[in-house]
Amino acid sequence: MECAALNPPAVLISVSASLAPWLEFFTFRDINLRLILAGCVLLGISAGVLGCFAFLRKRSLLGDALAHSALPGVCAAFMLTGTKDPVIILIGATVSCWVGAISIDLITKHTRVKEESALGMVLSVFFGAGILMLTHIQRSGNASQAGLDKFLFGQASSMLDRDVWTLAIVGTIMLCAVALAYKEFKLISFDAEFGTALGLPTRMLEIALSTLIVLAVAIGLQAVGVVLMAAMLVTPAAAARYWTDHLGNMLLLSGFFGAISGAIGTYISYLGPRMPTGPWMVVAVTIVFLMSLLVAPKRGIIARVLLLRRIRRKTAEENILRTLYVTGEKEQRMDAPSSVAELQQFRTMNPWILDRTLDRLMDRGLVNETREGFFALTSDGIARGARLTRLHRLWELYLTRKLELAPDHVHDDAEEIEHIITPELEALLVAALDDPAVDPHAKKIPPAMDRESAIS
């Protein structure tokens, strides 16, 4: 495989000053470099934006299948015209991708073959046909065919200014189309049936959207090649999804991620003479993806782990408060101390976690250590325990009365819900149950009280 790096001589010629290569890049004095950079960034933007729609329609692998099915079209266009003019090749690729997209649609619609099978079949059979045609052309001894195989892996360094112009014009048209039909595309991405009900031509819109995705694939082929084009459609969109719930923001972010990966890919292949641009673009965008996966607020893994930890801690604390409260009820002395062993008996809890939880409760003044290994509620703790017990028993009563569950079936459910019920829900429960005094087990439901009355 030829490596798709910049031509070293071209780089050398342009290095007029004695700048280090990693700095020289940022002067953008090299015309060749400017061209490739523009091409890769444009490609990243258009693939990133269009990829979002494929992603949202859960058809991320469509890009992969379409990219592969472009190959027979590229070969056919060459066989028919004998030139490698970017516009003609683009038309060939687009037509062939289109046929691929329609085949996938027809196979899924008219047979019982599943969608991912249809994708895989179109991908491999079309690509097989492309390879067959490509090898046929190569063996036919036509000298002008050289370089046709760059569509397999892409070769950003071979982009000429008219390739970049084609990319720029088609890319701009595509982005304008997305901007114009934004509302419609949004609707069919989330709820196509609702669109039909509104009287929108959903079928036409779907075809238009598929055509745009096909175009995004076709213009990217030369720079990153068939195989890696798929990544530029899926990965930026997947990364952007972690940051936002808003489609407009997602499109912008995804386009931005695509653009910076294009720039990074160009930069690395500029520095390393044997480094191919396309694969480095993919690696760059994957790194962006992994970072989003980890650090994005709300959806990122770290944010979710922290949230989970907070919920677990709160649950553990509340469980202990409630255990101490119930013990107090039995002893008829609300600040009756319990030993660690007794707490363990009620709550099967890792001893280490129990220790840590008790420490936190003491820090917050909800629990006292009366003597070594014995713990009792403080007045604040009693109030919190009373409220939790109240919610627990209200819920038990609600389940037995309104859902007519047996009283011995309601404890586990209440055990979970007591941590969740908000004051608003509590008020609703109280109203629905007419401010009850006892739960289904004939235990007293602690009255709603504020802190002052809890102390007395």
Partner: protein
């Protein structure tokens, strides 16, 4: 044996090995995992190559097999811990691994006698000359031995695991309710798919592997509702594609692997129309004459 027969034998063995595991991929709606694995084994192969500095089959199988499993694990992890939808998890994972593989190939050109194109479409035409020598005795083409061994391994896996694979494919919930380890069987299947991919890739290339995994299995899927018949039929279609593909490639002078993929697609296209029960024509007739089907059931 003549050159042509060896090539058809290599193709048929690859097709058989692929069809055996491909049926389960299709039934489990994981057809694209075949595509993903066939691409993402590339870094594993390059690593094995760099470490052993040879094309010895065992290290390559290990390298590729582990990267195949890694793909399956990463995809699963992204879905589970990253809450990513399945199609995107596959797409992110394999394109990234493939890109790393291509970078490795270009970074170590000179040291690696591999090129990414041959990974994609293989060199089946050269396989008869790649002879396995034991001492000084010729044992026949190496690819035949490798693919033969993989075919036997897959056959054993499918035969002994038939019941488990069947239940895990059709009703994973029931399978885990009766105590089967569904994810173990999932990873076992992925392991065998990786093995098949790497075994076949050297001779027939990654794309033909995808075609052979999915296309014959889907062709058979349109013809029968019984699992074992589907497996047998898909092997038949696979072998027929290998033989027909050789003929097509010889006629128009092109890549044999590509032609085999085209032939498998051609068989699918024919069956898609004429299949008696699930075909397009049958479906059309059934819609036009809704009572014909009911009459047939009554009879």
């Amino acid at each position: 044996m003549s050159h042509a027969v060896w090539i058809m034998l290599v193709g048929s063995l690859a097709a058989t090995a692929c069809a055996l595991v491909g049926c389960f991929l299709v039934l489990r709606k994981q057809a694209m995992m075949g595509d993903a694995i066939s691409h993402s084994v590339l870094p594993g192969i390059v690593l094995a190559f760099l470490i052993t500095e040879s094309r010895a089959p065992i290290p390559m199988l290990i390298g590729a097999g582990s990267f195949g499993l890694l793909t399956a694990f990463l995809t699963g992890a992204l879905e589970r811990y990253g809450r990513l939808q399945p199609d995107a998890s596959i797409g992110v994972t394999f394109t990234w691994l493939f890109a790393v593989g291509v970078i490795m190939v270009s970074a170590f050109t000179g040291q690696v006698d591999l090129d990414a194109e041959c990974v994609l479409y293989g060199e089946i035409a050269a396989s008869p000359w790649d002879i396995w020598l034991v001492g000084d005795r010729s044992m026949g083409p190496r690819a035949v031995w490798i693919l033969g061994a993989i075919t036997i391994a897959n056959l054993a896996f499918v035969t002994f695991g038939f019941k488990h694979l069947k239940l895990c494919s059709f009703d994973p919930a029931l399978a885990s309710a009766v105590g089967m380890n569904v994810s173990l069987w999932h990873y076992l299947l992925m392991g065998f798919v990786s093995l098949t991919t790497v075994g076949a890739f050297e001779s027939v290339g990654a794309i033909l592997v995808v075609a052979m995994l999915i296309v014959p299995a889907n062709t058979a899927y349109l013809l029968t509702d019984r699992l074992w018949r589907m497996i047998v039929l898909s092997v038949v279609f696979g072998v027929a594609s290998a033989i027909g593909g050789y003929w097509l490639a010889a006629t128009i002078d092109g890549s044999i692997a590509g032609a085999m993929a085209v032939m498998s697609g051609a068989y699918f296209l024919i069956v898609m129309f004429i299949s008696p029960k699930h075909g397009v024509i049958a479906g059309y007739i059934a819609r036009r004459h809704p009572f014909a089907a009911a009459d047939a059931v009554v009879e």
